[in-house]
């Protein structure tokens, strides 16, 4: 359990999916679920494998490096504590470990990638949002962590030193 932005973040005793995720983050490791049946990685935490139905999975550490696949800039906060943050970015980060792969039950042009949703935070302060002018599709990012308690940290992403993968959008 952790107090963050005037929210109580709680992994309940029955929450078998989220257990372990924030502890790994506190130890400085970004982990994702890896299916022990088909080996594919899951970017959104779940109870079973959407690629093969297997119920077996394990946490796998990933590099925490990726690219901004999409983003948004929130200018009107809903949660009260975020009023001090506006305008703040939410980013859809595509991690390097699994990009545009096909899976058994995909049809036509469907592919899956390993994507996380976080904020883009400042490079030198993971508790503050990145300036909206610096947020763009195509820019490279890396994971960082906001330590909240002895066993709970929240993963965030920040801009990395790597060159953008393609011309950033929006430009400028």
């Amino acid at each position: 359990m952790a107090d963050y932005m005037n929210l109580i973040l709680e992994v309940q005793p029955t929450d078998s999916e989220h257990r372990g995720y924030y502890e790994a983050a506190r130890a400085g490791s970004l982990v994702v679920q890896r299916c022990t049946g088909c080996g594919l990685l899951r970017g959104i935490i779940g109870a079973s494998c959407p690629f093969c139905t297997s119920g077996g999975w394990e946490w796998q550490a990933v590099s925490g490096k990726g690219v901004i696949y999409s983003f948004e800039i929130v200018t009107q906060a809903i949660q009260p504590a975020f009023a001090d943050w506006v305008p703040y970015p939410v980013v859809l980060v595509e991690l390097d470990e699994q990009r545009s792969v096909t899976w058994r039950w995909g049809i036509e042009d469907e592919t899956v990638s390993l994507r996380l949703i976080t904020n883009l935070v400042q490079r030198d302060d993971s508790t503050r949002p990145e300036d909206e002018a610096n947020v763009a599709i195509g820019k490279r990012v890396e994971v960082c962590f906001v330590d909240l308690t002895d066993d709970f940290a929240l993963p965030q992403f920040r801009l990395s030193d790597e060159a953008p993968e393609h011309a950033p959008w929006p430009a400028g």
């Binding site: 899951r42 999409s70 983003f71 800039i73 039950w105 469907e110 949703i117 599709i137």
Partner: protein, 410 residues
């Protein structure tokens, strides 16, 4: 496979006024809408034996509404859901009648969408933000991502990046709705707007949602009555035939956020729902004369038009800004003003409007609208009836990953 094409009809429609301060319970609003729909159809309480509604924990359920109206139910169920529910439960109504569970179903939605639970959940108003975050909410709430505009925005932004869709193109959706609403005395907002009005309104979420790109929030109830074509023949109104329904068709990853794992994230689930809807109705997009697209935001019709094949992927921005969706255009959309201007009902008012269009009884500024006499002069305060309309389609949006559809014929 033809589904139940033309076997069932919409025979009654009912609404309350659209307001922001109803000062009434959802029970009171709901009974008024159902009563109005029965009156419209020429049905008595003892003629209705089925009831369906949808809600998000913000409404009054079927048994209470039915009891208040003296309706004795042989079938009812209350389903959880918002956008995309209307078309879906109309489909359920046809199914349960076909199965012999009942013969005439009142479908309703009652909500105080402004003075009660607000979907946008702004600070200090409506739903108090949750303090304790557990389960799947841990994946997004700590990142300040909770409202519909925030949840859908990653799809909108990617579409703008991939296809060059612009805010100006999106604004045309609002402009068209405002023009249509100016010919609808019931519309909550009936002032005609310009593209600049939309672009000059304050940002809610960038890059796709200014304030005026977002639908309005209102208090209201709406009702639609479904029965068999046989029974429909003896009722007050011209029956409007249900040609096909697609109900809550999904993308492969169905959650609000899990769908971002699967490309193309710019594809709305209507891409998949269209196959069910058009096949069972035995029509093509070109045959459709009027559309009703779920307009939670100006962007949602863009993606629905692409998904259902009214234009190619990436061409939605061009389609909505071409004039096609305006009254007098090739295929007018949301002729009542939609949820961007008339009122927010989680989609049911969009179906009600298409029923009016197919009856040729849009209640506009034409003195003879009840007799189907219209001027087809679409200037402010005048007509909003589409000429000789025979086929209309509703396209529902739950999230980018969920879509429903309803094709209706005269």
């Amino acid at each position: 496979m033809a589904g139940l094409r033309d076997k069932y009809c919409i025979v009654g429609i009912g609404e309350t006024s659209y307001s922001r301060n109803s000062g009434r319970s959802t029970r009171d609003l709901g009974t008024e809408a159902v009563r109005n729909a029965m009156e419209d159809a020429g049905l008595h309480p003892w003629d209705v034996d089925g009831m369906l509604n949808y809600h998000v924990g913000d409404s009054t359920l079927s048994q209470t509404i039915a009891t208040d109206l003296g309706i004795r139910l042989d079938f009812y169920t209350d389903t959880f859901g918002g956008g995309s529910s209307t078309e879906t439960i109309i489909g359920i109504a046809t199914g349960v009648i076909e199965a012999g569970l009942c013969h005439t179903v009142a479908v309703y939605r009652s909500m105080n969408g402004y003075s009660g639970l607000r979907q946008g959940g702004s600070i200090g108003q409506g739903r108090p933000p949750a303090k304790v975050v557990v389960g799947p909410d841990l994946d997004t709430t700590p990142y300040g991502m909770t409202s519909p505009a925030q949840n859908f925005q990653l799809t909108f932004a990617r579409h703008m990046y991939e296809y060059g869709t612009t805010s100006e193109q999106l604004a045309h959706v609002k402009v068209a709705c405002s023009n249509h609403a100016s010919n609808n005395p019931r519309a909550y907002y009936n002032k005609r707007l310009t593209v600049d009005d939309v672009l000059d309104s304050r940002w809610i979420v960038k890059p796709a949602c200014h304030l005026l790109d977002c639908c309005i929030e209102t208090d209201n109830a709406t009702c639609i009555i479904v029965t068999s074509a046989d029974r429909a023949r003896h009722l007050r109104q011209r029956p409007i035939k249900i040609k096909s329904v697609a109900g809550r068709v999904n993308k492969p990853f169905q959650g609000m956020h899990s769908h971002y794992q699967c490309d193309p994230i710019t594809r709305q689930a209507g891409y998949y729902a269209s196959r069910v809807a058009f096949r069972n109705a035995d029509v093509e997009p070109e045959d459709v004369q009027v559309t009703g697209c779920y307009d939670a935001f100006t962007f949602t019709p863009v993606l629905l038009f692409e998904g259902y094949g009214f234009c190619d992927p990436g061409q939605g921005g061009e389609y909505v800004s071409s004039g096609a969706i305006n009254l007098g255009g090739a295929r007018p959309n949301n002729t009542s003003g939609g949820q961007l201007c008339e009122g927010y009902t989680h989609g049911m008012n969009l179906v009600i409007e298409n029923v009016r269009q197919l009856r040729h009884q849009a209640d506009d500024g034409c003195p003879g609208w009840r007799e189907g006499k219209h001027s087809y002069d679409y200037s402010e305060g005048r007509c909003r009836q589409v000429e000789d309309v025979e086929l209309a389609m509703n396209m529902g949006w739950g999230t980018p990953a969920v879509s429903s559809a309803l094709i209706l014929g005269r």
